[in-house]
């Protein structure tokens, strides 16, 4: 009964086009990122930390390994009995705490960057495949994740490093091997959710191959979650590295690490609190920054929330 319909030429756009495009100014991505306070604050801090780590030899006031037993356990600059030039005091071997912190950032950030990236690649490739192709692939990947997650992570990493041997690459490998499951689970769920959307069915009716849809349609929609997760994972990697350093399984002792400093500070906490407090504070602030950055990125990159 099409004749019951008014003619199509009746004015149409008055209602549907009301919030016109012209009124909605287009914002480039960087504006969205800058509008998110967490991204700005956490991002600036991490950028600064990265610069400090890169230029450590020029920035650090002293050689982080240089011992001077005459100047051991100096308190921070603001306390009584401080020595000028030793801003955060010295440890029991007379090494400058500030310089060790700065060099420690190198290890922390290297591990964060490399381990999180590799874990993200490994985990999300498996997650994408499992979530998109389902069936046997999904069964295999999901069972693997289930089994994997039954191991206590810290124990597993200690075990792994003990087998592979200490050192930076071993720490990175251990983190990747343990934490790929985080990415895998989230990316798999997100992929499944995207796969059920109408736009995916529409793309299939046009005849796109499954692989093309995965790469062109689904991956960009999974990316915001992935970016946020990478940032969170960097925070986790910093902690894991600190734990491994704490138990002496990370890099060799001639390279200062925050975890190593914490282990060392723990033994002299009663007469030199700053040796423990300084690396602890750095660890705390850095992990917090990674978490906040991840949270902010997730909001800023969400294409639906971007308005």
């Amino acid at each position: 009964m099409a004749d019951a319909l008014p003619r199509e030429s009746a004015p149409l756009d008055a209602a549907t086009a009301a919030p016109s495009l012209a009124q909605r100014a287009r914002r480039p991505l960087w504006r969205d990122l800058l509008a998110e306070k967490r991204v700005v604050i956490a991002g600036s801090y991490l950028a600064l930390l990265a610069l400090v780590a890169i230029f450590a030899p020029w920035i650090a006031p002293r050689d982080p390994l240089e011992q001077d037993l005459m100047l051991s356990l100096l308190p921070p600059a603001w306390a009584a009995g401080a020595e000028p030039g030793y801003w955060l005091g010295t440890d029991d071997l007379g090494r400058d705490v500030l310089s060790r912190l700065i060099y420690g950032a190198r290890v922390a950030l290297t591990v964060a960057l490399v381990a999180a990236t590799l874990a993200a690649i490994l985990g999300s490739v498996l997650g994408l495949l499992a979530g998109w192709y389902r069936g046997l692939v999904d069964g295999a990947v999901s069972r693997l994740v289930d089994i994997w997650m039954a191991f206590p992570p810290v124990l597993l990493s200690i075990l792994l490093v003990a087998i592979i041997g200490a050192g930076l690459p071993a720490v990175i490998i251990a983190i990747v091997i343990i934490d790929w499951t985080r990415f895998c689970r989230v990316v798999r769920a997100e992929t499944m959710q995207q796969a059920a959307q109408d736009y995916v069915i529409a793309a299939r009716t046009i005849g796109f191959s499954r692989r093309a849809i995965l790469i062109r349609e689904i991956l960009p929609n999974v990316a915001p979650v992935l970016v946020a997760l990478v940032s969170l994972e960097m925070g986790i990697a910093v902690i894991v590295e600190a734990i491994l350093s704490f138990v002496g399984l990370s890099v060799s002792s001639d390279m200062p690490t925050w975890g190593g400093m914490i282990a060392q500070g723990r033994q002299i906490i009663h007469h030199a609190w700053w040796v423990l407090a300084a690396p602890l504070a750095m660890l705390f602030v850095t992990v917090l920054a990674f978490n906040q950055l991840g949270d902010g990125l997730r909001r800023a990159l969400d294409p639906v929330a971007r308005r």
């Binding site: 086009a17 016109s20 495009l21 736009y199 529409a202 009716t205 046009i206």
Partner: protein
Amino acid sequence: MSAPLLDISGLSAISTRENARVLRDVDLVVAEGEVHGLVGESGAGKSTIAKAVLDMLPRTIRVTGGRIVFRGRDLASLDRASLRALVAREIALIPQDPMTGLNPTRRIEAQLTDGMRLVAGMSRGEARERALALLEEVRIADPARTLAAYPHELSGGMRQRVLIAAAFALEPKLVVADEPTTALDVTVQKQILRLIRGMQERHGTGVIFVTHDLGVVAKICDRVTLLYQGKVVEAGTAREMIETPRHAYTRALLAASPRYDRPEHGCDPVPGSVVAGLEAEIARHDEGRAP
């Protein structure tokens, strides 16, 4: 009379997850250039039929019998690649939800020209020209700006227009509209119905119009098939079905539709006796058949 555009006969399907019948011997004929309403409540199997025509059935649904013949070709006899190619070129989908029917991360231009470039092999420029013309045809005020926009920058009605434009982009013979107005508010709904009808008439396209709303059927459909639990209850022209419904269920549904011309009347729920009658029909149908 020439061969119908789409001829579905005896289509049966089961859900492997619930091990239940979802389609029971469905017959459905869509003529060229006709709008055919597929009506039923949730779970009546209307979307399943639509998906079967597009070869987009989820894995959990298995066709157990019947044939889908599209322009003289039995879809089941085609190999995967030819079926994909046939669907891509000649059958299009207008998805239900304009929110999820467009990919939020891609610009309208990319999404609208996908099919033209992949299936029709147009160049970027040709596809853009065609996209602009289509957006004009679906009465979008500023086609050029819309092409450059992301879906979230458009209103729901505009998104649905874009999806309609995309569906007609390759001059398909059949458009499957899966509840295209359900997610829209009533004023926009009316415009969209009008638009689909207009596009369909100009392009001479057959349309399967899936809906649960008999009011919508009255506005847009030529013929209607009413389903209950995967079984055809009544089929006929829209006028017949609305003015002289034969089946008690059809009458009950019509009585249950809200009437804006007499709001004080309210809606009558479908009586239990009618439902019991339907259940009995379903049971008779299933008797003696393997599940």
